[in-house]
């Protein structure tokens, strides 16, 4: 990310990134978060196996076979996605506003570090920690490999998808962190956006599909596919499922099954990547632009560094308030 930063430190690690990495690992909270996360996912896997075995022996005497193992993989993957959705906003929404509240941001902004170096370093360090947590769950996945049913390439694709989702939520988090003065507001806004991406798109899809399905079968000429699939492509769960089951894309788009030649206009996960890549770029652009005061146009000055906050406006230099013993540090789990 910051390879072009040639001054100070090594070529790859710029000072802000170096500091973030160091300080992150000095707090016990990071280790507790890691433990809790792996524990939740591990318990989920064990619980699933227990239920599946119990259910299997009662019914047909079936053992834990590759089909069940694949089911476990799906359950774990979706659970992991939900956990990521909970963790990433907490890790990233405080990175800028937290420094603002601790009154270290102003000093950092008077150094030679560029706005993009600061924003990207903070994003990379948060995501690196998140990636560490996700990689730490790999042993849980080894249960799946023990029983088979999943190829390593599927696992790799799922992990790459996680990385992308983290990047998306992290970019949104850091944008909120820059825009809002207070961490708590930034965190709430980031969770709001996350909810929108996860829930609103899903619910909207289900509702619209019900409507579309009705009109779909009542028409005389059946179209090759329905546009409602595009909405499901915006949902991370939908996109993730389409990675395991390519058939999912066809189903989501209500592809006309009359002809086997008919294909989904776009695989759900491809749509997901394309749309949200734009969102990531836009969020980061906003964050980088708004972290420092900006000049807009020619001569028109805009106070771009005034973060949005309830009490902005009155008093001297509104963003600087004395807070010596500030108990709420960065809001991390």
């Amino acid at each position: 990310m910051s390879a072009r930063n040639k001054n100070g430190g090594s070529l790859w690690i710029n000072p802000v990134l170096d500091k973030e990495f160091r300080l992150r690992m000095r707090t016990p909270r990071s280790f507790i978060a890691l433990l809790a996360y792996v524990l939740v996912l591990g318990l989920l896997a064990i619980g699933f196996i227990y239920v599946a075995m119990d259910f299997g022996s009662q019914q047909t005497g079936m053992r834990f076979d590759p089909t069940t193992s694949r089911m476990l993989f799906y359950v774990l993957s979706i659970a992991q996605l939900v956990l990521i959705a909970f963790m990433t906003p907490a890790l990233t929404a405080g990175v800028i506003s937290g420094e603002r509240e601790k009154q270290t941001l102003n000093i950092l902004l008077t150094t030679q570090q560029s706005s993009s170096a600061i924003v990207l370093s903070k994003l990379v360090s948060s995501l690196a920690f998140m990636a560490l947590i996700v990689l730490a769950t790999l042993p849980v996945y080894s249960i799946v490999f023990l029983y088979g049913g999943i190829s390593p390439s599927q696992l790799v694709r799922v992990f790459l998808f996680y990385l992308f989702t983290m990047l998306l939520l992290g970019a949104l988090g850091i944008m909120c962190s820059t825009l809002f003065k207070r961490t708590i507001v930034a965190v709430i806004m980031t969770y709001g956006l996350t909810m929108f991406i996860f829930l609103v798109t899903g619910v909207a899809y289900i509702l619209l599909m019900a409507i579309a399905e009705r009109s779909y079968y009542s028409g005389t000429v059946q179209p090759d596919y329905s546009w409602v699939g595009f909405i499901f492509g915006l949902n991370p769960v939908g996109a993730l499922i389409s990675i395991f089951e390519p058939e999912m894309s066809r189903q989501a788009f209500l592809v006309n099954t009359a002809s086997l030649q008919n294909k989904a206009p776009i695989a759900l996960w491809v749509e997901f990547l394309l749309v949200y890549a734009v969102v990531i770029a836009a969020s980061l652009w906003v964050a980088i632009r708004r972290i420092r005061p900006v000049r807009r146009g020619n001569g028109n000055l805009e106070s771009g560094n005034d973060p949005i906050g309830e009490e902005g406006g009155s008093g001297e230099v509104a963003e600087m308030k004395p807070a010596q013993n500030d108990p709420d540090r960065k809001l991390e789990k």
Binding site: I107, T110, P293, R295
Partner: protein, 309 residues
């Protein structure tokens, strides 16, 4: 070195700066004084490229703070009035971090940081965690931090606020040392007497306007407070103060537990006559002496603040 022209800044309906202009030459120590909320911190934040002015311009070493902020940042060391430190960060790591943020190579930092710690008397705290330092130490560390890239200009916003007397004296000694090193320093403070002996020029700001600016002695002359007289009586000081108000050459009169302070613009002969008159009024004068005028008197004279009686 620093040129400010018609700088204005408004927060909502509050006019923080109202067309301020000033010029500060290289190597000058400029004392920026004024009551809270007058616009000192706003001006300093604009100079530190942290805030954009609504109109007007500010230049540091010829570089415009809004057009060439990166060049300005390279040349200034900024110490905000309130600042925080990172938790679980050691003193020398703290300085290494900011040094690296200014693009100073590691080998250079290894040499520089012990010198900086020496300058601010924190050599023995090299391995201590920053968040565990006392306020005075943090303040000194922040000053060392602002010096890490050897800036030409230091912008120090209330560097001695919240410090105990001992820590203030230490801070003042460091600032004197920096003055000897030839830095241009802008320093804001409420504690004017402490500034008096090291400041070359002052600017007095009130309600976002520059009320007076220039050499300390010039301003004192202009305000016609050549002397401050301290009068102590056994009784009746309130009454005396009132009577004094109508005397010739008398400026402002203050009464406190220590006695009466009179801003006096006359010479020796007039001062003698004033003493004679007080004795004629039958006041029991214990002492009548001439005090050194200081910045505080100048400041109070200029701003005519409501705090004094």
């Amino acid at each position: 070195m620093i040129e400010i022209r018609n700088l204005s800044k408004r927060y909502g309906s509050f006019q923080a700066l109202d067309s301020i202009s000033m010029t500060i030459g290289a190597g000058t120590v400029f004392g920026f004084v004024g009551p809270n909320g007058a616009g000192k911190s706003t001006t300093m934040s604009i100079l530190a490229t942290l805030l954009l002015p609504d109109s007007g311009s500010a230049k540091v070493s010829g570089f415009d703070v809004t057009r060439q902020p990166k060049e300005v940042r390279r040349r200034i060391g900024y110490m905000p009035d309130f600042f925080g430190v990172y938790d679980r960060f050691k003193t020398d790591e703290y300085l290494h971090f900011y040094g690296a943020s200014y693009g100073i190579a590691r080998s250079e930092r290894e040499k520089l940081i012990p010198q900086l710690l020496e300058l601010v008397n924190l050599s023995d705290k090299k391995e201590a965690y920053v968040d565990g330092l006392s306020r005075g130490m943090k303040q000194r560390l922040c000053l060392a931090r602002s010096l890490v890239h050897d800036p030409e200009v230091l912008i120090l916003d209330e560097p001695a606020s919240g410090l105990d007397p001992r820590a203030r004296i230490e801070m003042r000694e460091i600032l004197k040392e920096l003055k000897r090193m030839g830095k241009t320093i802008i320093i804001s403070s409420h504690i004017l007497p402490e500034l008096a002996e090291m400041v070359d020029e002052i600017g007095v700001i009130e309600h976002g306007r520059m009320v007076a600016q220039g050499k300390v002695s010039d301003i004192q002359n202009r305000m016609r407070i050549n002397r401050v007289l301290h009068i102590r009586t056994l009784s009746g000081s309130e009454q005396l103060a009132e009577q004094l108000q109508d005397e010739p050459h008398v400026g402002r009169v203050f009464v406190d537990a220590a006695g009466i302070q009179v801003h006096f613009s006359g010479q020796d002969a007039e001062q003698m006559q004033l003493l004679r008159r007080i004795l004629d009024w039958n006041y029991e004068v214990v002492s009548f002496n001439e005090a050194q005028t200081n910045l505080e008197d100048v400041f109070l004279e200029i701003t005519k603040g409501g705090a004094a009686t």
